[in-house]
């Protein structure tokens, strides 16, 4: 890869990373495995960037590379990991395609919705996403059972999702 192209790669990657990651995460639905695959995919994209045709869709190109990584991962992990049905994966891919254009709005809505959360809920999110603690560790720290922490986290995430939805509807109405 020409050195001058590398800044371009980083620009493109910064913009397309989310779509590729969401694709990987939705196909693998296991956070740490998805991160490994994402790392491999990014490395492969970097290596093959010379072959990327300018003007074509960068994230679609990345997804095409990620697909092979995912296939290989599934083959290796078929005995250890659980997967959804092919029919479901196809629906998810379609949904990812449909929702793409709203992603920036949703990100802004999420920022607003976080501010509405109770402090104790924010703390739990922070322990997981910022301090990197597993749910089990958070449960220990917060004196909760393991099933308890899942229920709490489910409530928080569901609230955020609904809040984002409602916020977007209000914004769309006010436009």
């Amino acid at each position: 890869m020409a050195l001058s192209d590398r800044s371009q790669f980083i620009e493109l990657y910064s913009r397309g990373q989310k779509k590729i990651y969401l694709y990987v995460l939705s196909m693998v639905h296991h956070q740490s495995d998805a991160e490994d695959i994402m790392q491999q995919t990014a490395s492969e994209m970097w290596r093959l960037f010379d072959r990327f045709k300018e003007g074509t869709n960068f994230s679609s190109w990345g997804i095409a590379i990620a697909k092979y990584k995912i296939l290989s991962y599934r083959k290796k992990q078929s005995a250890n990991r659980l997967f959804l049905s092919q029919e479901v994966y196809e629906k998810v891919i379609q949904e990812l395609h449909d929702t793409e254009s709203y992603s920036d709005k949703r990100k802004n809505a999420l920022q607003g919705c976080l501010k509405k959360l109770h402090e104790s809920d924010l703390q739990k999110l922070s322990l997981h996403y910022e301090d990197g603690l597993s749910y089990s560790k958070i449960a220990q720290q917060q004196n909760l059972s393991k099933s308890g922490i899942y229920k709490v986290m489910a409530r928080i995430h569901a609230s955020l999702r609904i809040c984002i939805k409602q916020t977007l509807l209000v914004w769309d109405t006010n436009v």
């Binding site: 980083i10 969401l22 479901v88 998810v92 999110l125 489910a154 995430h157 609904i162 209000v170 109405t173």
Partner: protein
């Protein structure tokens, strides 16, 4: 009663998958949910997006003090690329293309291992001894395995300062626990649920047994936990798939009230004698002195059956949830305020709508937990009736306007009609805020959507039916038509079209299924001619005082 709210349950499955802790059975449930409901697929993608944005790769900070690591990382990459572009060239030592093979190792073919019967016997014995010591070492010291979780508490005070919080696990065979006051909910691992009212002294005896020295408890026992037992000083109550309440007094007196199903009651200190069956709707008292059993009047509201600390809800009976109270920003049990109004333009408000106005689209009302939103029904465009995007396909074309807010039990005399203050009346009875009767006023064109899942979640109940009576209030003598609709998830379940009668109520009864998510009430102008140039009396909505009286949800 439902164990979980479906919304949270689905989210929990997604989180379990993300953490790599999902079981095959849970994965099957997740797959079923995603394949049967396209809305779930959208929920799934949205959850992953939240996960991404909050993770180190995403751009949203949970707490502002934390640096944006993703942005930093990208900046770092940019600097590296710039450095790479501008740095002086340097010569690299050429690495050998292939590593030199030092030695080729050939492994001998594996031998087939044989195990003699003696070896096998010794191996099993050793394993058993090992397991015995390991298990003994790690069992909780008081002999108890954790069998129950404290899932909720409300105003609870414990005798022991070091006592429990939500999520605490409780081991069998531990010391008795003393709840001085308040309410707690215990979820046993066999799925039996017990609500305890303080003051109470109790002890978890096993996964399917609880001892109650004194206090009140209410047990909900699903089929899988049949046999769940409550021990008091003078009695043993064995569940046969039921809901029942037990009250134990200091002096040993015990009362048993069976709300659902059947129990077996064994009286006497050792509780080993034969039992008597006590069926739903009946109650018994066991004397603390003589252990004799007598019939007593069954009291449905004697025990707290369920509560929700988040919404400050306490249920003593399966309630009829008053939707008019929910419109008034209440919890459905009479805590609302009649000054509250819902407006299709301003949403939640205390200010009265003045004059005629047009509104389009669906407006969410996030301030009210059980209300999804409001709208002005008009079939000229696709009429959305929920935040999920459910569409009211049969919505008629209307004038698209309204001149009144959605109100629950309007304050006496606050409605203005025929140039005078008016109050909703039917059959000589009024429905003002102080009347003891309830109603929702939807003067056409207005629609209102309730979030049934939010209600189920707060009350931990299923909803079986929506019931009300609809009619047009008669305080404005005018020949106009109006249409009433009751929708579930956008589908019409009841309609009364182009209705003209005044002061007559019509029964509405709509079954609610477990999968139903949104209940919508709507009133439209009935297709009357609309004259925008005249005064309000010439508008299509004029005189359409549509009222949903005694609107309730039946909970199970």
């Amino acid at each position: 009663m439902c164990e979980h709210n479906a919304k949270y349950d689905f989210t929990e499955l997604v989180l379990l998958a993300l953490q790599g802790e999902i079981t095959p059975e849970q994965m099957e449930r997740l797959n079923a949910a995603l394949s049967s409901d396209s809305a779930r697929v959208q929920d799934y993608v949205e959850l992953l997006e939240i996960y991404f944005e909050l993770s180190s790769s995403g751009g949203v900070e949970v707490s502002p003090r934390v640096n944006n690591s993703a942005e930093e990382y990208n900046t770092f990459l940019r600097v590296l690329a710039e450095e790479e572009r501008t740095a002086p060239e340097c010569e690299l030592l050429q690495e050998p293309l292939e590593r030199e093979l030092i030695q080729k190792v050939i492994y001998p073919p594996g031998e087939k291992r044989t195990i003699s019967k003696f070896s096998l016997f010794m191996l099993l014995n050793t394993a058993a001894i090992f397991l015995f010591f390991v298990l003994f070492q790690f069992l909780p010291p008081k002999g108890g395995i954790e069998v129950a979780t404290l899932t909720d508490s409300m105003n609870s005070k414990w005798a022991d300062a070091s006592s429990m919080v939500k999520g605490s696990r409780i081991a069998a065979g531990g010391d008795p626990l003393v709840l001085r006051e308040g309410l707690i909910e215990l979820q046993f691992d066999n799925q039996a649920t017990v609500v305890m009212e303080g003051p109470a002294r109790f002890q978890i005896l096993a996964e399917d047994r609880i001892g109650l020295e004194y206090g009140k408890l209410y047990a909900v026992v699903p089929k899988g936990a049949i046999g769940f037992s409550v021990y008091t000083q003078q009695a043993k109550i064995i569940d046969m798939g039921t809901e029942f309440g037990v009250q134990a007094e200091f002096d040993g007196d015990t009362q048993l009230h069976v709300m659902k199903g059947k129990t077996i009651l064994m009286a006497g200190g050792n509780a080993d004698t034969g039992g008597i069956e006590v069926d739903n709707g009946s109650a018994r008292r066991i004397s603390g002195d003589t252990q004799t059993v007598t019939d007593i009047p069954f009291q449905t509201a004697r025990f707290v059956r369920a509560f929700d600390s988040l919404h400050h809800i306490i249920l003593r009976e399966p309630p009829l949830l008053d939707l008019a109270d929910i419109v008034r920003n209440g919890n459905g049990l009479g805590t609302g305020n009649s000054s509250v109004r819902l407006n299709p333009i301003r949403g939640f408000t205390y200010a009265q709508q003045v004059g005629y106005a047009n509104a389009e689209g669906f407006l969410p009302v996030p301030e009210l937990p059980f209300i999804d939103g409001v709208f002005v029904p008009n079939g000229r465009a696709k009429q959305i009736v929920s935040t999920r995007g459910d569409v009211f396909n049969e919505c008629p074309e209307t004038s698209g306007g309204f001149d009144c807010d959605v109100m629950g039990n309007p304050v006496r005399g606050i409605l203005w009609s025929n140039s005078q203050p008016s109050t909703i009346q039917f059959y000589g009875q009024d429905y003002a805020d102080d009347s003891g009767r309830t109603c929702i006023v939807l003067h056409a064109n207005l629609g209102l959507t309730f979030d049934l899942d939010a209600i189920r979640s707060a009350y931990r109940c299923d909803i079986s039916r929506f019931v009300c009576r609809v009619g047009i209030a008669d305080f404005q003598q005018k020949e106009s038509r109006a249409s009433f609709y009751v929708l579930v998830d956008g589908q019409v379940r009841y309609s009364l079209l182009q209705y003209q009668e005044r002061a007559v109520l019509n029964d509405v009864s709509v079954a609610i299924r477990k999968t139903d998510r949104f209940l919508t009430l709507a009133a439209t102008d009935g297709g009357d001619p609309d004259n925008p140039d005249g005064d309000n009396d010439h508008r299509a909505i004029s005189g359409d005082w549509c009222v949903f009286t005694e609107p309730v949800l039946r909970l199970e």
